[in-house]
């Protein structure tokens, strides 16, 4: 389930040797080299090909929420190791490494905020935390974000990026798909809006649960989306995949996302939608 390209905050390792970090950035998609400060201004979107670089969760918080303000909830909730899972590494060691890398306890940040003055329940996944994989904690924090939307009667906004369910928690991870989706059923019945924002990549268990259940689904350009990973599909069918397969553009063409939105327009688009869907 968890499949993803090598995480890259900034530059691919290979490029780091040639270009001083933070000054020049080479686009993963088209190879264009752009001055780092310029990239910051462009919100890490390639000026040549529109490829959206992966950016830290904090940048989305700054970008989307009024004054970049989030009243964070459930900060302390953290993972245990119910299966005593070990592959090449012990699961608790993987968690510790992810915590050190991200400075966060787990792969979701959630809380209350406003967008265009409208109070919302907000959650964002962190791909840097074990590939944005969904274990018990990610599922629980998303579940609580949905419950806050229900209890406070405010719209729900979730920004997803995930390689899928977290294998190290086995069946418990799979069941987070049911936990979150069952609560979304209640939100749906109460006619409270849910806008699902997909970023690169959103796949597998997350895509096959809450990410796909938005009243409106927005996606950044050229993100990788899907149920199964491209490699798995390729191995199963034994043939090359068509160009652009499983991209944002592919899924919009097939009818599974509402709109492809450039990063700089995300906030305004969400607010404009909420004004139609939420007049309270």
């Amino acid at each position: 389930m968890a499949w993803f390209r090598k995480s890259k905050e900034g530059l691919p390792t290979q490029e780091k040797r040639n270009i001083p970090e933070g000054i020049w950035t080479k686009c993963d998609s088209c190879g264009e080299v752009v001055y780092g400060k310029k990239m910051e201004e462009l919100l890490w979107v390639c000026p040549n090909c529109d490829f959206h670089f992966r950016i830290p969760t904090q940048k989305y918080i700054d970008l989307l929420l009024d004054d970049g303000q989030l009243e964070e909830y459930d900060i302390e909730i953290s993972s245990l190791d119910p299966l005593k899972f070990k592959d090449s590494k012990k699961y608790p060691d993987r968690i510790k490494a992810a915590q050190q890398k991200t400075g966060k306890t787990e792969g979701v940040i959630a809380g209350m905020a406003t967008m265009g003055g409208i109070e919302i329940s907000f959650a964002i996944m962190n791909f840097q935390f074990i590939g944005g994989s969904m274990g018990s904690v990610v599922g629980e924090k998303i579940a609580r974000a949905i419950e806050r939307a229900i209890e406070k009667e405010v719209p729900l906004i979730i920004v997803s990026s995930s390689g899928g369910a977290r294998m190290q928690e086995g069946i418990l991870s799979l069941m987070q798909m049911a936990k979150t989706s069952a609560l979304l059923a209640i939100l749906h019945e109460k006619k409270i809006p849910y806008i699902s924002i997909l970023t690169n990549p959103t796949t597998a268990g997350v895509m096959a649960s809450y990410a796909s259940l938005g009243d409106v689904i927005l996606v950044e350009p050229k993100a990788l989306l899907g149920f199964a990973g491209p490699r798995v599909i390729q191995q199963t069918i034994g043939q090359d995949l068509p160009d652009g397969f499983q991209s944002s553009e592919f899924f919009m063409d097939k009818g599974f996302v509402d709109k492809i939105v450039n990063r700089k327009d995300l906030r305004d688009t969400v607010i404009a939608l909420l004004r139609f869907m939420w007049s309270k």
Binding site: M1, A2, W3, E76, I77, S78, S79, L80, P82, L83, F85, K86, D87, S88, S136, V137, G139, E140, A143, A165, M167, E169, G170, I171, L172, S173, L174, M175, Q176, M177, A178, K179, S181, A182, L183, L184, A185, I186, E189, A204, G205, M207, A208, S209, Y210, A211, S212, L213, G226, F227, A228, G229, V232, I233, T236, P242, Q246, K254, G255, F256
Partner: protein
């Protein structure tokens, strides 16, 4: 998968059975008295069987769940129910033959029974796509669930899949959306839902029809977030490490009871359901009937509230 009648770990048993059978033939053919030897070999066989099956590893249980002779969904439907009327198609795209379902009678109780279907021979395996449904399979299942809800017929789901199909058409037609939508809608269906994992319960492909009021699992079936091979390929970077992955994932019926994911284990006939499908079907039928009886005592609102609570509380963490 080979078509030989035994699994690799069953080989010593199979060889001993052959030996006894040969000896019996020889004794009859040559008119020689060998009953003493035969009796002692049969005792040895019994001990070997007991020893083998009482100490199965998780990987061996996974292998048993895939035994080429294991009863499949339509076998259980045939053995457990009467008057089955299979209903086809998702009314959007196609009839997915990896997912079957329809009305049937469990004695005098009507049910909607739905599940993944695997094929027995090569031709059937292809037709059934190895029990791996496309989006249209999940949408057919939901259509049948909603039909059941409309006419207040309880739902029985038999889960047996190595996963939802990973292919181009499946992605084009929204495999993720189909599964997500099923999960959400199943959580609110206003009829009792009993789910039985009869063989393989792999990932979202299983959960896409697997949300219910009671989840039961056959003794040698498994249910997890990913298949042992898939997990091994990703975390060990070697699909051959599937036995290790099977241990790590804790996907067996015993594991799932301990993790409080399934409500009960349905015992299988000695050495697995394939050794006596009729007896296996009787046990499954009995478990379903008892469960439906118990669920029928709840009001619909109570049923839905309990179903929500059941899933709401799954997860192990520190707060």
């Amino acid at each position: 998968m080979s078509d030989r009648p035994f699994l690799e770990f069953e080989r010593p048993i199979f060889e001993l059975e052959q030996k006894i059978s040969d000896m019996k033939d020889f004794a009859v053919g040559e008119n020689i008295e060998l009953s003493g030897e035969i009796v002692s070999l049969e005792k040895k066989l019994e001990k070997l069987r007991e020893k083998t099956y009482s100490n199965l590893t998780r990987w061996q249980k996974v292998q048993l769940s895939r035994h080429p002779k294991r009863p499949y969904t339509l076998d259980y439907i045939k053995l457990m129910t009467t008057g089955f009327i299979e209903l086809h198609g998702d009314r959007f795209f196609a009839d997915d033959k990896a997912m079957v379902g329809g009305f049937a009678w469990l004695d005098d109780e009507p049910v909607m029974i739905v599940g993944q279907q695997k094929g027995r021979d090569t031709k059937q395996k292809v037709i059934r796509n190895f029990g791996m449904a496309h989006p249209e399979g999940y949408r057919k299942a939901l259509r049948l669930f909603q039909l059941a809800e409309k006419f207040q017929v309880p739902i029985v789901v038999l889960v047996d899949t190595p996963g939802a199909f990973p292919g181009i058409g499946a992605e084009e037609r929204g495999q993720a959306e189909a599964i997500a939508y099923n999960i959400r809608e199943m959580s609110r269906l206003r009829v009792p839902i009993v789910v039985v994992i009869i063989g393989e319960g792999a990932s979202g492909g299983a959960l896409g029809v697997g949300v219910g009021d009671r989840i039961m699992i056959l003794e040698y079936a498994w249910y997890s977030v990913i298949s042992p091979e898939g997990c091994a390929a990703i975390l060990w970077r070697d699909a051959a490490k599937a036995p290790e992955a099977a241990e790590a994932l804790r996907p067996t019926s015993d594991d799932l009871i301990k993790l409080k994911i399934v409500d009960s284990i349905i015992p299988e006939p000695s050495r697995g359901a394939h050794c006596d499908p009729e007896a296996a079907a009787k046990l499954v039928k009995k478990a379903i009937q008892e469960t439906l009886q118990e669920l029928s005592l709840k009001s619909t609102d109570e049923l839905l509230l309990d179903r929500l609570k059941k899933y709401r509380h799954i997860g192990v963490f520190q707060d």
